[in-house]
C-alpha cells in the first residue's frame, strides 16, 4: 500500500569490495539503491569467504550511516582533556585544519622528525603501505600500534616466523583429525579468516575431527568442542610442555625423521648452551653416526644424523639439542602441570596420548602426485594463551607440540600462511640462515621477523623496539615510555600524535593511565568516523572515509589473508561504494596532501617504488602528483599487467592468479631451512639486551631469553593477596570486533539481548559460595585498586577461579549513545607496568586477580 506512493527505484546496483569490520578482509558485494547502501552480502566467488559474512560484516553500512559520525574537521576549544569533558568542538575548514597541522609538522620535521607519532591499526593494503612510506619519508620511526599490539599476535607471529617462515598460521582443517585450541576461538568466528575456518571446522567436526578447546571460558568455542578443557589462565605452557614430556619420555611418540631433517634438534650443544661450531666454517655441527664424527649441519657427506645422544668430542660429552630438550621437558610432569593448570594429570596424559596417536607419525598422503607426510593433529593458539607475561615462551611451547610430531607445514598439521609463492606476479620462499634456520623472504618479510635478532641499541623509538630484538612490535612499551621517558633514557619527547583507526583509550590497559600518557603529547590529530574516546582527546578531529567510502588496493596480504594450504592465490580491492559523507576524506590521501605541503611526496614515492617493486612504466615518478586511484592503478598494472588496472579490479572485486601448487600449499618437505626447537640465538640476543640496558641503567627483564622453553608463572599467578581470588579474563564475541563495533546499532542490539555480552561471567558454584546470584550488581576490584561494576551472570561454562568479561564494552564517550556505559570495560582492570610486559614479545599480561563483591 505504502509502496505504491513511493517513486520507482532509479538505481539498484551491487558493488564488489572488501569488508573492514574486523581486521580480516572478506570479499563482499554491496547493494546500493538510489545512492544508499542497503545491504551487504558475501561475494560468493571470493576464495576468502565464499559468500559468507559474519554479523559484523552484514552490519557494516550501519556505522557508515551512524548519525553520530564525525563529518567535518573540528578544532578543540576546551584545552582541558578528559573523559566526560566536553572538548567544545568548533567546526573549521579542511584548509584551516591542514594549514595548522602543516605548520606543526614543518617545525617538528626541522627539529626532530621522531617527535611525530602515528598510531593506527590500518596497516594492511594500500593505506597501510602508503602511510608507512609517508612516515618513513617524514623521518619518524614512531609507529604505535595501539591496542592492536597490546595483546594480539605478540606471542604468535614471531613463533610462526621461526617455525613456518611467515607472519601467520592456521591448522590444516582439511586433513586434521584432532585439533587442540589453546586460547583461540578458531572456527567460532574469531581470529583470522573466520569465515573460511568456520565452514571448514564445521565440516571437519561433522566428519569426526576431534576438537579440544583449552580455555578458561567455554561459552563460544568451548561449546562446540568434543572436550572443553578449562584451564587456569596463564598456564598453557605448562600443559603443552607436560604433553610434550608424555610424548617424548613416556610414550616415545615423536617424529624422529622430521626432527632430524627439519629442526635443529640434531645440532650439538656446548656446555655454555651455544652451538658447537665447526672451527673452519663456524657452522653448527651435527653428529654423523656412520662416520662417528661431527660434521657441519649442511655437509653433503653426511651418513646418518644423530638426533639423540651425547657424543665425545674433544674430551667432552656433547649432547644434541634434542637430547637437552627431551631431558629438559622431563620436569614438566603431568602431575606438576596438573597443580599449575588445574587440569587432572590423567586428562593431560590422555590428551597427549590422543594427540600423539592422531598424528599418525609415519603416515603419508599423495596430493597431486606428490607423496607427503600426513600428520592429522594440530595445536593452534592465539591471544588467550599468549597475552601473558611469558607469552612468547608459551607460544613456542604450544608450537613445539606440533613440531615434535612433525605436524608443521604438512597435510593435517599446523600451516604457515604462505611462506612460499611460486605464482606470478610475486615469488618468495624462506632461505636458510648461516646456521641453517628458517628466514622468511620477500613478501613474507614485510613485517618484523624475530630472526635473526635485530640489533640491540639504546632506544630511539618510543616503543623501545631496539630493546626487543625478537618481538614483532613494541607498542606496549610505548605507553610506559610516554609515562616515564627518563626511565628509558629517551632524549626527546613526542610533540604530535596522528591517530586513525586505533582507540588506545579503550583497547589497551587502564584508560585513566593511558589518558595521562596521551595528555602528555602536546598536539593530537585524530582521523575519526565515530567520536571515539581517543578522538575526544584530540586537538583536531578530521572526518575519515568509512571503509565503504574508500579505495584500497590489495588489502588481503597473502601471508595473512590467503588461507594456508591448498587453495587459490587472489588479490582483492576495497572500493568506495558511495562518496564520503559530509566532508570526510580518506586519511592516507590527506597525508599525501600534507606531503605536498611538506615537500616529501617524491621521497615517499621512491620508497614505495622499492617496497612495491614497481616496474616501469608504472613506477611512481617523484615529480608527479597522482590521485589515490591512479596510485592504485599503477600498482595493480605493474603487478598484474596493463589490462589489470584498478578499473578491472573495481569491476571484478578480486583477481585469482592461480591455484596453489603442492609446493606452495605444503611447503615443509620442499624446503631445507630448519626450525629452532632449541632457540640458541635467544642466548646472544638476551646477552645483548642485558649489556645495553645495564650500560644505560635501565632495569629490564631478560630472563626469558633462554634456549629451552619453560612455563613460568605470570604476575597474577603468583600473588594472591587474600580475597583477590579470581582471575579475570577477556574473550571476543563472534558479533563484535574490538571497541569499534560496540556502537553499531544492529550489533549493539545483539549485545543487549545476548546474556553473555554485557555481563560479568562467574562460575555458578563459585558465585553461590560468595552469595552472588545472576542479575546481582557486582564490583570487581584489583589489588591496584582499579575497579569495574557489572551485572553478574552465573554460568557453568567458566573456570571456577575465573571471572569472564566479553568484548570491549563500557564505552566512555558520550557521543556513542548506544554503547555509552553499557557492559563492562575489561581493560580498566589492567595496570600499566613494565613488569607485566613480556620482554620477548612485548605482550601485556592480560589477566589480573580480582576481588568480587556484591553491591
Amino acid at each position: 500500500m505504502l509502496n505504491s506512493i513511493t517513486k520507482p527505484v532509479q538505481e539498484d546496483v551491487w558493488v564488489k569490495s572488501t569488508c573492514f569490520m574486523c581486521w580480516n578482509t572478506c570479499g563482499i558485494k554491496v547493494n546500493k539503491v538510489d545512492g544508499v547502501i542497503v545491504k551487504i552480502e558475501g561475494d560468493p566467488d571470493c576464495p576468502q569467504n565464499w559468500g559468507k559474512t559474519c554479523a559484523k560484516g552484514n552490519a557494516g553500512h550501519m556505522s557508515l550511516y551512524d548519525p553520530n559520525r564525525v563529518l567535518f574537521p573540528m578544532r578543540r576549544t576546551n584545552p582541558v582533556k578528559g573523559f566526560d569533558v566536553d572538548p567544545k568542538w568548533e567546526r573549521i575548514s579542511w584548509e584551516e585544519a591542514l594549514e595548522t597541522i602543516t605548520a606543526r609538522l614543518k617545525k617538528i620535521r626541522a627539529e626532530d622528525p621522531r617527535k611525530l607519532v602515528i598510531s593506527t591499526f590500518d596497516t594492511r593494503g594500500q593505506s597501510g603501505v602508503f602511510w608507512m612510506a609517508w612516515a618513513a619519508a617524514f623521518g619518524t620511526p614512531n609507529q604505535w600500534g595501539g591496542g592492536a599490539n597490546y595483546f594480539c599476535g605478540n606471542g604468535f607471529h614471531p613463533v610462526t616466523y621461526l617455525t613456518h617462515g611467515t607472519w601467520f598460521g592456521e591448522p590444516d582443517i582439511r586433513h586434521c583429525r584432532y585439533l587442540m585450541l589453546f586460547g583461540t576461538q578458531n572456527g567460532s568466528v574469531s581470529n583470522h579468516l573466520p569465515m573460511d575456518l568456520a565452514a571448514k571446522m564445521a565440516d571437519a567436526r561433522m566428519d569426526g575431527m576431534k576438537l579440544i578447546v583449552v580455555d578458561p571460558v567455554g561459552i563460544n568455542a568451548g561449546s562446540k568442542a568434543h572436550e572443553w578443557v578449562p584451564i587456569r589462565p596463564g598456564t598453557d605452557a605448562a600443559l603443552a610442555l607436560a604433553m610434550i614430556n608424555v610424548l617424548l619420555n613416556e610414550e616415545g611418540v615423536y617424529d624422529k625423521e622430521f626432527l632430524t631433517k627439519y629442526t635443529n634438534g640434531p645440532y650439538l650443544i656446548r656446555e655454555d648452551g651455544h652451538y658447537l661450531r665447526d672451527h673452519e666454517t663456524g657452522k653448527p655441527l651435527m653428529w654423523d653416526l656412520a662416520a662417528a664424527r661431527p660434521r657441519p649441519f649442511d655437509d653433503p657427506a653426511f651418513g646418518s644424523v644423530a638426533l639423540e645422544g651425547r657424543f665425545l668430542i674433544e674430551g667432552k660429552q656433547i649432547p644434541t639439542a634434542f637430547t637437552l630438550f627431551k631431558e629438559h621437558v622431563r620436569q614438566h610432569t603431568p602431575e606438576s602441570a596438573s597443580s599449575i593448570t588445574t587440569i587432572p594429570a590423567d586428562t593431560i596424559r590422555r590428551l597427549a596420548h590422543e594427540f600423539g596417536q592422531a598424528a599418525q607419525i609415519g603416515s603419508t598422503i599423495v596430493i597431486d602426485g606428490k607423496e607427503l607426510p600426513l600428520r592429522p593433529a594440530a595445536a593452534s593458539w592465539y591471544r588467550g594463551a599468549i597475552a601473558h607475561k611469558h607469552g612468547m615462551l608459551t607460544g613456542l611451547a604450544i608450537q613445539f607440540l606440533n613440531v615434535v610430531v612433525g605436524a608443521i607445514d604438512v597435510p593435517g598439521g599446523h600451516l604457515g600462511n604462505n611462506p612460499v609463492s611460486q605464482t606470478a606476479p610475486l615469488h618468495w620462499s624462506p632461505v636458510p640462515s648461516a646456521d641453517g634456520l628458517i628466514m622468511p623472504q620477500g613478501y613474507a618479510r614485510r613485517r618484523k621477523p624475530p630472526y635473526p635478532a635485530t640489533k640491540v641499541k639504546p632506544p630511539e623509538r618510543f616503543d623501545l623496539l631496539e630493546l626487543c630484538p625478537v618481538a614483532p612490535y613494541g607498542t606496549t612499551f610505548f605507553t610506559e615510555a610516554l609515562l616515564d621517558p627518563k626511565r628509558f633514557k629517551l632524549s626527546y619527547f613526542p610533540e604530535m600524535l596522528i591517530v586513525c583507526r586505533s582507540n588506545p583509550l579503550m583497547t589497551c590497559a587502564n584508560p585513566d593511565r593511558m589518558a595521562e600518557a596521551l595528555k602528555k603529547i602536546p598536539f593530537m590529530v585524530a582521523f575519526a568516523c565515530e567520536m571515539s574516546e581517543t578522538a575526544e582527546f584530540a586537538d583536531i578531529v578530521l572526518p575519515d572515509a568509512h571503509y565503504l567510502e574508500r579505495l584500497d588496493a590489495n588489502p588481503n596480504e597473502p601471508t595473512e589473508f590467503v588461507g594456508a594450504g591448498e587453495g587459490y592465490w587472489y588479490w582483492m580491492v576495497r572500493q568506495p561504494v558511495v562518496p564520503p559523507r559530509g566532508e570526510a576524506r580518506g586519511w592516507v590521501e590527506v597525508l599525501y596532501d600534507l606531503a605536498d605541503r611538506l615537500g616529501i611526496r617524491g621521497d615517499a614515492y621512491a620508497l614505495l617504488n622499492a617496497t612495491l617493486d614497481l616496474k616501469e612504466p608504472f613506477a611512481y615518478k617523484p615529480t608527479e602528483k597522482y590521485s589515490w586511484e591512479e596510485l592504485a592503478n599503477r600498482w595493480m598494472k605493474s603487478w598484474f599487467g596493463a589490462d589489470k588496472g584498478i578499473d578491472w579490479f573495481k569491476k571484478n572485486g578480486f583477481l585469482i592468479t592461480g591455484k596453489k601448487k603442492v609446493e606452495e600449499a605444503y611447503t615443509r618437505v620442499f624446503l631445507t631451512p630448519r626450525i629452532p626447537l632449541y632457540v640458541e640465538y635467544f642466548l646472544d640476543a638476551g646477552a645483548e639486551v642485558r649489556k645495553v640496558t645495564e650500560d644505560l641503567g635501565i632495569r629490564w627483564d631478560t630472563d626469558d631469553y633462554q634456549a629451552l622453553v619453560n612455563w613460568k608463572p605470570c604476575p597474577a599467578y603468583d600473588h594472591s593477596v587474600p580475597g583477590y581470588d579470581l582471575f579475570v579474563v577477556n574473550f571476543k564475541l563472534p558479533f563484535h570486533s574490538l571497541s569499534y563495533t560496540s556502537h553499531n546499532a544492529l550489533l549493539a542490539e545483539l549485545s543487549e539481548k545476548n546474556p553473555y555480552a554485557y555481563s560479568v561471567l562467574l562460575n555458578a558454584d563459585t558465585a553461590r559460595k560468595k552469595g552472588i546470584r545472576s542479575g546481582d550488581r557486582v564490583r570487581l576490584e584489583t589489588e591496584e585498586g582499579y575497579e569495574v561494576e557489572g551485572q553478574a551472570l552465573l554460568t557453568e561454562c567458566i573456570h571456577p577461579e575465573v571471572a569472564g568479561i566479553a568484548g570491549c564494552f563500557g564505552r566512555k564517550s558520550k557521543a556513542l549513545q548506544l554503547s555509552y556505559k553499557k557492559g563492562v570495560h575489561f581493560n580498566t582492570l589492567l595496570p600499566h607496568a613494565t613488569e607485566r610486559i613480556d620482554s620477548l614479545s612485548a605482550a601485556l599480561d592480560s589477566c589480573v586477580r580480582v576481588k568480587v563483591g556484591r553491591l
Binding site: 500500500m1 545491504k39 551487504i40 559468507k52 559474512t53 554479523a55 562446540k224 572443553w228 563472534p734 549513545q817
Partner: protein, 201 residues
C-alpha cells in the same frame, strides 16, 4: 506444488548471529524486530557444560495456528510453496497471531522509529517504507528472493552452512536427504503445527 522448508544443523551452528543480522538488513526490519534470533541455553554442569545454540525463524507451519487465529484473514499460506505470509494491507493489528504462534515468530511493528534514536538513517528510511505501522510482521522465507531463484539471506550468510533450504516434498532435495539420513526434531511438537523448519540435533 512444493513445500519449502529449512533444515538447521545444530551440530554445525556456532551461535554467531550472522543469520539474525543478515535477515535484518535483507528485510530492513524495524528496530527491535528480529525474524531470526539465535537462542541459547546452557546444558550440563562444569566442566561438562556448554552453551547450546538454537537459530530460529518462522517455521512456515503446515498447519499454522497464526493463520487460524487471525480475524482478518491477513495470514495466508502460498499454494505453490507453502510459505506463510502476513498481508500487512489486511492486518488490523490485533496481535492474535503473535499470541497464537508457539515460536514467537510474529512481531508487532508499532510505529516508525530509528535504530540510533530519533534520527532515522537513510537505509532505514528506505527500508521502513515497506512496513505499515500497527501491523504484524514476520519472516517471509525471503519469498522475494525465492521468487527470483535465490536462497534466503540467512542461509546464504551462515558461515557454517548450517541452514539448508529446499523443497521438503522433493525426495531428491538436500533437505529431504538430510531428514532421511539423520534424526531430526521439530520444535514444540506438542503444538501440532507440523513446521517446515526441522532441526538436526
Amino acid at each position: 506444488m512444493a513445500r519449502l522448508g529449512m533444515v538447521i544443523d545444530l551440530a554445525r551452528c556456532v551461535g554467531c548471529d550472522a543469520c539474525t543480522v543478515a535477515c535484518q538488513t535483507e528485510n530492513g526490519t524495524p528496530p527491535g524486530i528480529q525474524y531470526a534470533p539465535v537462542f541459547r541455553k546452557e546444558v550440563g554442569k562444569f566442566p561438562q557444560a556448554k552453551v547450546f545454540f538454537l537459530p530460529t525463524l518462522c517455521m512456515h507451519c503446515d498447519d499454522p495456528p497464526c493463520m487460524k487465529a487471525c480475524p482478518t484473514s491477513a495470514i495466508s499460506k502460498r499454494k505453490k510453496d507453502g510459505i506463510v505470509l502476513v498481508d500487512q494491507d489486511k492486518c488490523c493489528g490485533s496481535k492474535a497471531c503473535i499470541a497464537a504462534c508457539p515460536y514467537g515468530a510474529l512481531h508487532f511493528y508499532e510505529k516508525k522509529s530509528g535504530m540510533y534514536g530519533e534520527k532515522i538513517t537513510e537505509p532505514e528510511e528506505q527500508a521502513l517504507k515497506k512496513f505499515t505501522p500497527g501491523t504484524a510482521q514476520k519472516c517471509t522465507f525471503c519469498s522475494h528472493r525465492v521468487d527470483r531463484g535465490l536462497e534466503p539471506a540467512c542461509v546464504v550468510t551462515c558461515p557454517t552452512n548450517c541452514r539448508i533450504f529446499g523443497d521438503l516434498d522433493n525426495p531428491e532435495s538436500r533437505v529431504s536427504q538430510l531428514l532421511r539420513e539423520r534424526n531430526s526434531v521439530a520444535l514444540r511438537p506438542d503444538a501440532g503445527t507440523d513446521p517446515s523448519v526441522r532441526y538436526l540435533p
